[in-house]
C-alpha cells in the first residue's frame, strides 16, 4: 500500500524556509529549557530566590517556559504564514 499523504494540497515553496526557522526556534527553546535543568542541578537554591511579584525563580522560570512556548508558537505561525503568502502566490 502507498505511504503518500491522506489528502492532497498544492506545492509549498516555503517549506524550506519553515523548516529552517523551526530548527532555529527549536534550538533556542531547547537552550532555555536546558537552562532550567542546569540551574536545578548546579544551583538548586537559586530556584528559591524571589524574583518578581513575590514569586521565586522556580515559578517564574516554569511559567516562563510555558508562556514562551505559546508565544514562540504564535510568532512561528505568523512568520510561516507571511512566507507562505509571499512564496506561494
Amino acid at each position: 500500500m502507498a505511504h503518500g499523504p491522506s489528502t492532497q494540497w498544492g506545492e509549498d515553496r516555503a517549506s524550506e524556509y519553515k523548516s529552517k526557522l523551526g530548527v532555529y526556534l527549536f534550538i533556542f527553546y531547547t537552550l532555555v529549557y536546558a537552562g532550567f535543568i542546569v540551574i536545578n542541578v548546579v544551583s538548586p537554591k537559586s530556584m528559591g530566590v524571589i524574583v518578581v511579584a513575590g514569586l521565586n525563580l522556580a515559578c517564574v522560570y516554569g511559567f516562563g517556559l510555558i508562556i514562551l512556548a505559546i508565544t514562540m508558537g504564535l510568532i512561528y505561525n505568523y512568520m510561516c504564514s507571511q512566507q507562505e503568502y509571499k512564496m506561494n502566490k
Binding site: 491522506s6 538548586p44 513575590g54 517556559l65 510561516c80
Partner: protein, 633 residues
C-alpha cells in the same frame, strides 16, 4: 477513605456516555473508507483538531496524576507540567508539517515514506503497539479506580465499562468520532479546570479548612533511655512501640481502639503526635486508625500550619490573586504527611505522620526529586533524565502523531499544534493552582493522590464535584480512544496490509481496522483488570521513555540527516525499545514497587532511562546507517 456515589455525578456520566454513543452512531454512516476511518477523511478543522489534541494528550495522568503529585509533593509535580508542555515545542517546530507531508495513516507511514522497508514497517508497528499498550494500561486502571469510589461499582466493572464504550466509539466511526469525543472532553476539561482554579483563588486558605476538619492531637509523655514509659493523658495506655533509624512510634490504646503516635522531642519534653494509620492483620482484617473503614476515622487531610500575610501570622487569607496565592504559600507553612511502614507482630502497619513543611520548600523542586537536600550524583542524573524524556517523548507518541493526518494540509497541522500548545499550556498552569488548592483544603486521601482534583472540587460543592468527576471519566474515554485508533492502525495497516502484504479492498481495510480495535480494546480491558493496583505513573513514564528512545531519533534523523538508511532506522527503534525497557525493568523503583525487592539490589542504579537510551538510539542509527550506505546507493 469512604466515597459516596453522587446521583448527580452518575446522571452526568450517563448523559455524557449517551452523547458520545450518539456522536459515534452519527458518524458511523459517514465512515466507509480507510481514509475516513484512520484519518477522519483529513477534513477536520485545525481549531477542532487543536482542542482534540488537548483532549487526546491531557490523559488521566495529566489531570489526576499531576494535580495529585502537586498536592502531595508541591512544585515537583509541576515539573511534569513543564516537561509535558515543552515537548510540544519539538512537535511544532520539528515534527508537525513534515509528518503531515510524508505520512498517510500511521507513524510507520511517515518513517517509511521513501524506503518501503519491511524492517521499518515491523519495528515501527511494534514500537507503536508497545507505547500504546504502556499508555493504555494506566488509563484502564485509572478508569477502574474512578468507578469504584464514584459509582460504587467494583474495579473490573469500571474497566469493562470504559473499554466497552471506547470500543464502540472506535469501531463505529474510527478517527472521526474519536476526534469529536476528544474535542468535547478537551474543551470541558479546560473550562471546568478554570472554574475550579477561580474557586481556589477566591477561597484562599486557612489553618482550619473546614468546620469538621480533624484536629490532630499532641500528648505529653515521659521517656527513659529512648523508650516511652508514661502518658500525661490517663485515658491512653501504651500498647506497643516501633523504633528504627527513620522514626519512633508508640501504639496507644483508648477505649479498646489502638492508634499510632509519632514520638518527638520539643524543648527537652517528649511529645506524642497523632498519626493516621492502616493496620493489616494476618487474618485479613484491615483497620483504619484502629477501627473498621466504615467508622470513617481515616480522615481527609491537608492544611496550612502557619499563614503569613504582610509579615503577620493570620488564621485565614481570604480571596487572593494568582501571584499573591503562590507568594503567600511561599511565606507560610503547610502540613504534609510522611509515610512509614513496619511490622507490629504479625500485623503490617502503615503510618502517615505529620510533616510541617515550609512554603519555600514546597514552591521549588526538591521534595520528590532530590536535587538539593539529600541529593547525590545519581539523584541529579535521574532528574535530568526525566526532564529529557518528557521533552522528547511527546512528539514521539504514536496516538498524538496520527492526529496530524486528520487535517487537510501541513499548514493546518501547524496551526492545530499552536492551538494545542495554547490550550494545553493554559491547562498546565492551572494544575499548579488546583494541586496546591487540594494540598491546603483538607480533602486529601492519603491512600490515593489520584483523587486530589475531584476531592478538591467536592470541597466547593456537589455540583462542581459531579461535573469534574464526569470529566475525569471523559478524560479516560478520550485518551483511550486515541490509543486504540493508533494501535489498531499499527496492526491492520502497518502489520497486516504493509508488512505481511495481505491484499485488502478499501472496505476490507476498514473492517480489519475495526476488528483490530475490538481485539486491542479487549486486551486493554484484560490488562486493566490484571494490573489493578499497579503504579500508573510508572507505566506512563515507561511509555514516554520508550517513545522518546525508540521513535524520536528515527523521526529527527530521517528529516535532518541525508545519510539515514532504512536499516539504521529499524536498528535505532529496536535499540531504543530494548534499552529503555531494559533500564526501567532493572531500575531501583521497579525493584521496589513492582517486584517487592530491595531497591539496592537493582543492577542499574537509574530510574529514568532517557539520558542513556535516547543517545544510544541516535548512535545506533548513525553507525548502522554509515555501514549500510552501499545498500542505499
Amino acid at each position: 477513605m469512604i466515597y459516596e456515589a453522587s446521583p448527580f455525578a452518575i446522571g452526568l456520566f450517563i448523559a455524557f456516555v449517551l452523547a458520545v454513543l450518539g456522536i459515534s452512531s452519527y458518524f458511523a454512516k459517514k465512515t466507509q473508507s480507510s481514509k475516513g476511518y484512520y484519518a477522519a477523511g483529513g477534513t477536520i478543522h485545525w481549531g477542532v483538531n487543536g482542542i482534540a489534541f488537548a483532549g487526546d494528550y491531557l490523559s488521566a495522568a495529566s489531570f489526576l496524576g499531576i494535580c495529585g503529585m502537586i498536592a502531595f509533593d508541591g512544585y515537583d509535580g509541576f515539573l511534569y507540567s513543564i516537561g509535558y508542555l515543552a515537548g510540544w515545542v519539538v512537535a511544532l517546530f520539528v515534527v508537525a508539517e513534515p509528518l503531515k507531508r510524508f505520512g498517510k495513516y500511521t507513524f510507520a507511514d511517515a518513517l517509511d515514506y521513501k524506503f518501503g522497508s519491511k524492517g521499518i514497517q515491523l519495528t515501527a508497528a511494534i514500537s507503536t503497539l508497545i507505547v500504546s499498550l504502556c499508555y493504555l494500561i494506566p488509563q484502564m486502571v485509572g478508569a477502574g479506580d474512578l468507578v469504584t469510589p464514584l459509582l460504587g461499582l467494583p474495579h473490573y466493572a469500571g474497566v469493562v465499562l470504559v473499554g466497552a464504550i471506547v470500543i464502540f466509539i472506535v469501531a463505529t466511526a474510527g478517527m472521526t468520532s474519536t476526534t469529536y469525543v476528544q474535542f468535547i472532553k478537551g474543551g470541558l476539561l479546560i473550562i471546568f479546570s478554570t472554574i475550579l482554579t477561580i474557586c481556589v483563588l477566591k477561597n484562599g486558605f486557612s489553618l482550619k479548612p473546614s468546620e469538621n476538619y480533624h484536629d490532630f492531637k499532641t500528648i505529653q509523655a515521659t521517656a527513659a533511655e529512648g523508650t516511652v514509659t508514661a502518658i500525661a493523658d490517663p485515658s491512653y495506655k501504651i500498647a506497643g512501640a516501633f523504633k528504627d533509624a527513620k522514626g519512633h512510634y508508640v501504639k496507644l490504646e483508648n477505649g479498646g481502639v489502638n492508634t499510632w503516635w509519632q514520638v518527638s522531642e520539643k524543648d527537652g519534653q517528649t511529645m506524642l503526635k497523632e498519626t493516621l494509620s492502616i493496620t493489616k492483620a494476618a487474618d485479613g482484617v484491615v483497620l483504619y486508625n484502629g477501627e473498621p473503614k466504615t467508622a470513617r476515622k481515616f480522615f481527609p487531610v491537608g492544611n496550612a500550619s502557619k499563614i503569613i500575610v504582610d509579615g503577620k501570622e493570620v488564621e485565614k487569607t481570604g480571596g487572593l490573586g494568582p501571584f499573591e496565592y503562590l507568594s503567600t504559600i511561599e511565606k507560610s507553612e503547610v502540613v504534609r504527611f510522611g509515610k512509614a511502614a513496619f511490622a507490629d507482630g504479625k500485623d503490617k502497619v502503615t503510618v502517615w505522620r505529620q510533616n510541617p513543611t515550609s512554603g519555600k520548600e514546597i514552591m521549588r523542586p526538591g521534595l520528590k526529586f532530590k536535587v538539593d537536600k539529600g541529593s547525590d550524583f545519581l539523584s541529579k542524573l535521574n532528574f535530568v533524565s526525566l526532564m529529557i524524556a518528557l521533552f522528547f517523548g511527546t512528539s514521539a507518541l504514536p496516538h498524538i502523531l496520527i492526529r496530524y493526518y486528520t487535517v487537510p494540509s501541513p499548514k493546518d497541522a501547524r496551526k492545530s499544534t499552536i492551538v494545542a500548545i495554547g490550550s494545553i499550556g493554559f491547562f498546565y498552569i492551572l494544575t499548579l493552582f488546583m494541586g496546591l488548592g487540594a494540598m491546603l483544603s483538607g480533602v486529601l486521601d492519603l491512600e490515593s493522590s489520584n483523587m486530589s482534583a475531584p476531592l478538591l472540587a467536592k470541597y466547593f460543592g456537589i455540583t462542581l464535584f459531579s461535573v469534574i468527576s464526569a470529566i475525569a471519566f471523559a478524560t479516560v474515554l478520550g485518551t483511550v480512544s486515541g490509543l486504540i485508533v493508533a494501535a489498531s492502525g499499527a496492526v491492520a495497516h502497518d502489520l497486516m496490509s504493509n508488512f505481511m502484504g495481505i491484499q485488502m479492498t478499501d472496505k476490507g481495510q476498514v473492517k480489519a481496522g475495526k476488528i483490530s480495535a475490538i481485539v486491542v480494546g479487549c486486551i486493554a480491558i484484560l490488562l486493566g483488570i490484571l494490573c489493578k493496583g499497579m503504579n500508573v505513573s510508572f507505566l506512563v513514564g515507561l511509555a514516554f521513555a520508550v517513545a522518546a528512545s525508540a521513535n524520536l531519533p528515527a523521526i529527527i534523523m530521517l528529516l535532518f540527516w541525508k545519510k539515514t538508511t532504512s536499516k539504521g532506522i529499524a536498528a535505532s527503534i529496536v535499540v531504543g525499545i530494548i534499552s529503555a525497557l531494559g533500564i526501567i525493568l532493572l531500575s531501583p523503583s521497579t525493584y521496589a514497587d513492582l517486584y517487592g525487592l530491595p531497591a539496592a539490589q537493582a543492577p542499574i542504579p537509574l530510574d529514568n532511562p532517557g539520558i542513556i537510551s535516547i543517545p544510544l538510539s541516535f548512535i545506533t542509527l548513525v553507525v548502522v546507517s554509515l555501514f549500510t550506505q552501499k545498500e542505499k546507493a
